[in-house]
C-alpha cells in the first residue's frame, strides 16, 4: 500500500520578508515527497492555524528572521491545541538565539533549525517525528 504523503504548511508569521529559506525548503520538502502549502508572507497565527485546519496538515513549519519567534511560535501551538490540532508537528527556523530554544521546545515547538542546518537534517527530523492521524 502506498504511504500517505506528509502534508506540510510552510508559513511566514509577522511582517518579516526574509523568505529565501521558506521557499527553498518548500521545494526541498516537495522533492522529499511531501505535499507542501506555502502561505506567503504576513501571516497571523490565526491565518496559519486556519491553513493547517483547511489543509488537514500533518506539519507546520514556521520561519522567522525578525526576532518575533518567542511571540509567534508558541501562539501558533496554542491556537492549534485550541482547534484540537495538537497532533500537528510544529517546527521552526530562522535567526533564533540558541538560548531561546529550550523555552520554545517546552512550549511545544518540536525542533528549531538555525542557520547552516543541512536540509537533510530537517527532512529527516520531520519524517521521523510526524504523527500519524
Amino acid at each position: 500500500m502506498a504511504e500517505k504523503k506528509i502534508k506540510i504548511i510552510v508559513a511566514k508569521p509577522g511582517l518579516d520578508g526574509h523568505d529565501r529559506g521558506a521557499k527553498l525548503l518548500s521545494r526541498i520538502f516537495a522533492e522529499a515527497g511531501m505535499e507542501v502549502v506555502y502561505t506567503g508572507l504576513r501571516q497571523t497565527p490565526e491565518m496559519i492555524v486556519e491553513a493547517a485546519l483547511q489543509e488537514d496538515a500533518d506539519v507546520v513549519g514556521l520561519s522567522s528572521l525578525s526576532g518575533v519567534h518567542n511571540y509567534f511560535f508558541p501562539k501558533v501551538v496554542e491556537l492549534l491545541k485550541a482547534k484540537k490540532l495538537g497532533n500537528v508537528l510544529v517546527v521552526g527556523g530562522g535567526i533564533i538565539p540558541l538560548e531561546d530554544i529550550p523555552t520554545l521546545k517546552k512550549l511545544g515547538i518540536a525542533e528549531i533549525f538555525g542557520p547552516g542546518t543541512s536540509t537533510d537534517t530537517i527532512v529527516g527530523f520531520i519524517k521521523a517525528n510526524v504523527k500519524s492521524k
Binding site: G14, L15, D16, G17, H18, D19, R20, K23, L24, S26, R27, I28, A30, V36, Y38, G40, L41, R42, T44, S66, G67, V68, Y71, F72, I95, P97, L98, E99, G114, P115, G116, S118, T119, D120
Partner: protein
C-alpha cells in the same frame, strides 16, 4: 591590448604549457572538484592575454571619472576622500537609536543609515494588529514626526548625510525627515542623503510592499520628481541588488535584475516627462559584497560599464553624471554563519576589501554576531574598524582600480557583463521588468540559484567553514542584543497620547486633502508633508492610499 603576433605566441605557449607542464602535475594529483567562482562561473587554471584578446583598453576600460567608468566614477577615487562609512542601525525606540547614532558618529562614522522597524516599512502604526511582536525589533519604531524629531535630536541634518531604508512608505518618511530638517533651520539644498524608494525589489524579494506595482511606482516617481525640484542633492532612490543577492541570486543576476529595475524606473521618470539628465544623476544603487573577492571586484566593474552604456545609448543621456553608477555596498548578511561567529570578522574583512577594490561610494560592514541577533555595540565597533583598517592600512586605496589588467579579473568582468546584457535582452523581449516580475521570471531565476547553492553545500561539494567543514562543538553565544516586548506596549501608549494631543481639525483636513490629491495625477509630496506636519502617522497616510490604490497580494512562485 596585444598585437596579433603576441597573441599567437601566447596561445601557442599556453597550449604547450597545458600539454606538458600542467599535464605532468595533473597526472600525479587530480584537482579539486569545485573549479568555479562562488556564483558558479567556470574558472580555468590560468588566464593569459589570450582569454581577453578582444579587450580594447580605450573603449572598455578607459580612465576613472570618464565613460564607460569601468575603472571608477571619480578620477582619483580614494586618494582624495575615502568612501562614506555608513553603518545601518536602528532598534527599539527613537531615543535608543539616537544614542547609537551619536555613538557611531563619535567613533568616526561619516554618515547615518536608518533602520526602521518592519511596521514603519510596511506602513502600519506600532499599535496595528499586524505590528504585534515586531515593534522596535529590526529597526527604530517611527510612527510620526515626533519620533523623527527624537531620532535626529542634536544631529545637524545639513552636516550629516542620512540613508533611509524605506520603500513603499518612502514618501511619508522623507516628508517627516525634511520637516525635521526645516525645524532645525537646515535649508533643503544643504540636506543630503539617500532614500531607498525601490519598490520593485520589495515585490521581487524583500517583501516590504504595500501597493500594487503601478500605484507604488507612481509614489516612487513623485518622490524623485519632488526632490529633483526641491532637494537637489538628495539621492532619490537606491536601486537595490543587495536583497536580490541575499535571496540567493548569483553575482551576475544581482547586477542584471538591479539594472532591469533601474531601466523600469528610468522609463517611468521619462514617461512623467522628466528629462533624463534631470533625474538620472540622482539615481543611486546598492549592492552586496560576498567573500569571493575577485568575482565581486569584476561584478562592480561590469555593473558600472553596463549602466553607463544603457544611460548613454538607450536613454540618450548627455550629462556624464547620468551615466555614472554610484553605489552603496553592504557586506553579505547571508554569508555570515551562526557557527563559530568570530570567523565572520574575516569574511567581512575580505568583503570589505572586495568592495573597496571594486570602487564603491559608501559601505556598511556587517557585525560578526548578525547570524544570531541584531549587532551588539562591541561587534558594530569591530565592523566599523574593519573599514578603517582597509582604508588606512591595506594599501588598497592608494591607487585607482588596482586590479585592472589582471587577465582573470578582466575576463570575469567581461563574462559578467555578457551575462547581464543577456538577461536584459531576455527581459526586454518579455515586455520589460514589470512583466518579468509579474510572470515570476526574476523570482524563479533567483530561487533556482538559491536552490543550486544549497545543494552544493548540503552535498559538501562546496566547503563552508564551520557549516559543512571544520565543524566544532562550541558553547552557545550569550550577551545578545535583545529588544524588550515592553517597547511595543510603551509605543502603543505613546501613540494614544499623540493622537489625543494633535489638532484634530487640522489633521482631518490634511488627510482629506491628501485623499483628493492622490486621486489626481498631481505630485503627492507637498500634501504628504502637510499631513505629517499636522500629526498624521505613517499608518494613517498609508491607509489613505490603501483605500485608493488597494493592497498588493503577491502570487507565490516556488521553483
Amino acid at each position: 591590448m596585444f598585437s596579433e603576433k603576441d597573441l599567437e605566441k601566447i596561445k601557442a605557449g599556453k597550449k604547450k604549457w597545458s600539454e606538458v607542464t600542467l599535464a605532468k602535475t595533473l597526472s600525479k594529483a587530480p584537482e579539486k572538484k569545485v573549479k568555479t567562482t562562488w556564483s558558479g562561473i567556470p574558472v580555468e587554471t590560468l588566464y593569459t592575454p589570450a582569454e581577453i584578446a578582444g579587450l580594447d583598453y580605450e573603449s572598455k576600460l578607459g580612465y576613472p571619472g570618464e565613460y564607460p567608468y569601468t575603472r571608477g566614477v571619480q578620477p582619483n577615487m580614494f586618494r582624495g576622500r575615502f568612501w562614506t562609512m555608513r553603518q545601518y542601525a536602528g532598534f527599539g525606540s527613537a531615543k535608543e537609536t539616537n544614542a547609537r547614532y551619536r555613538y557611531l558618529l563619535g567613533q568616526g562614522q561619516t554618515g547615518l543609515s536608518v533602520a526602521f522597524h518592519l511596521p514603519t516599512q510596511a506602513g502600519y502604526d506600532s499599535d496595528h494588529p499586524l505590528s504585534m511582536g515586531e515593534v522596535g525589533k529590526v529597526g527604530a519604531a517611527i510612527d510620526h514626526i515626533g519620533d523623527m524629531r527624537i531620532l535626529f535630536d542634536q544631529i545637524p541634518l545639513d552636516k550629516v548625510t542620512t540613508s533611509m531604508t524605506v520603500n513603499a512608505a518612502a514618501t511619508v518618511l522623507l516628508a517627516m525627515y525634511l520637516s525635521v530638517a526645516s525645524e532645525q533651520g537646515a535649508s533643503w539644498d544643504k540636506v543630503g542623503g539617500t532614500i531607498q524608494n525601490d519598490v520593485l525589489k520589495e515585490i521581487i524579494c524583500r517583501g516590504q510592499y504595500i501597493y500594487p506595482p503601478k500605484p507604488t511606482m507612481r509614489l516612487t516617481v513623485d518622490l524623485i520628481e519632488f526632490c529633483q525640484k526641491n532637494v537637489p542633492t538628495w539621492n532619490t532612490i537606491s536601486i537595490s541588488g543587495y536583497h536580490i543577492r541575499e535571496s540567493g541570486s548569483t553575482a551576475a543576476q544581482e547586477i542584471a535584475f538591479t539594472i532591469a529595475d533601474g531601466i523600469a524606473y528610468a522609463e517611468a521618470c521619462a514617461a512623467r516627462g522628466i528629462p533624463v539628465d534631470s533625474f538620472a544623476p540622482r539615481l543611486s544603487f546598492f549592492f552586496n559584497a560576498f567573500t569571493d573577492v575577485l568575482e565581486e571586484v569584476a561584478k562592480f566593474r561590469a555593473a558600472r560599464r553596463v549602466w553607463a552604456k544603457i544611460m548613454k545609448d538607450r536613454f540618450k543621456a548627455k550629462d556624464p553624471r547620468s551615466m555614472m553608477l554610484r553605489y552603496h555596498v553592504q557586506t553579505g548578511g547571508v554569508t555570515l554563519t551562526a557557527q563559530q561567529p568570530l570567523n565572520n570578522i574575516v569574511r567581512v574583512a575580505l568583503q570589505t576589501l572586495a568592495t573597496v577594490l571594486g570602487g564603491n561610494q559608501s559601505l556598511h560592514t556587517n557585525s560578526y554576531d548578525e547570524a544570531l541577533c541584531l549587532p551588539t555595540q562591541g561587534a558594530v565597533t569591530v565592523a566599523l574598524r574593519t573599514q578603517q583598517i582597509v582604508a588606512e592600512e591595506s594599501g588598497a586605496c592608494v591607487t585607482v582600480d588596482p586590479l585592472a589588467g589582471s587577465y582573470y579579473v578582466e575576463y570575469l568582468t567581461d563574462k559578467i557583463e555578457a551575462e547581464v546584457e543577456d538577461y536584459i535582452k531576455k527581459i526586454d523581449a518579455m515586455g520589460g521588468t514589470l512583466t518579468a516580475i509579474e510572470q515570476g521570471y526574476i523570482q524563479k531565476e533567483i530561487q533556482n540559484s538559491a536552490y543550486l547553492f544549497q545543494k552544493s553545500i548540503d552535498s559538501g561539494e562546496r566547503a563552508y567553514v564551520g557549516v559543512n567543514k571544520y565543524i566544532m562543538e562550541e558553547p552557545p553565544v550569550t550577551d545578545l542584543l535583545r529588544v524588550d516586548m515592553k517597547v511595543g506596549e510603551e509605543k502603543a501608549a505613546e501613540l494614544k497620547q499623540w493622537r489625543a494631543k494633535r489638532d484634530k481639525a487640522a489633521w482631518q483636513k490634511a488627510l482629506d486633502k491628501l485623499r483628493e490629491v492622490s486621486k489626481t495625477d498631481a505630485n503627492v509630496m507637498p500634501t504628504v508633508i502637510e499631513a505629517v506636519k499636522a500629526g498624521a502617522t505613517v499608518g494613517e497616510v498609508c491607509d489613505v492610499w490603501r483605500e485608493i490604490f488597494g493592497q498588493y497580494r503577491p502570487k507565490e512562485f516556488i521553483s
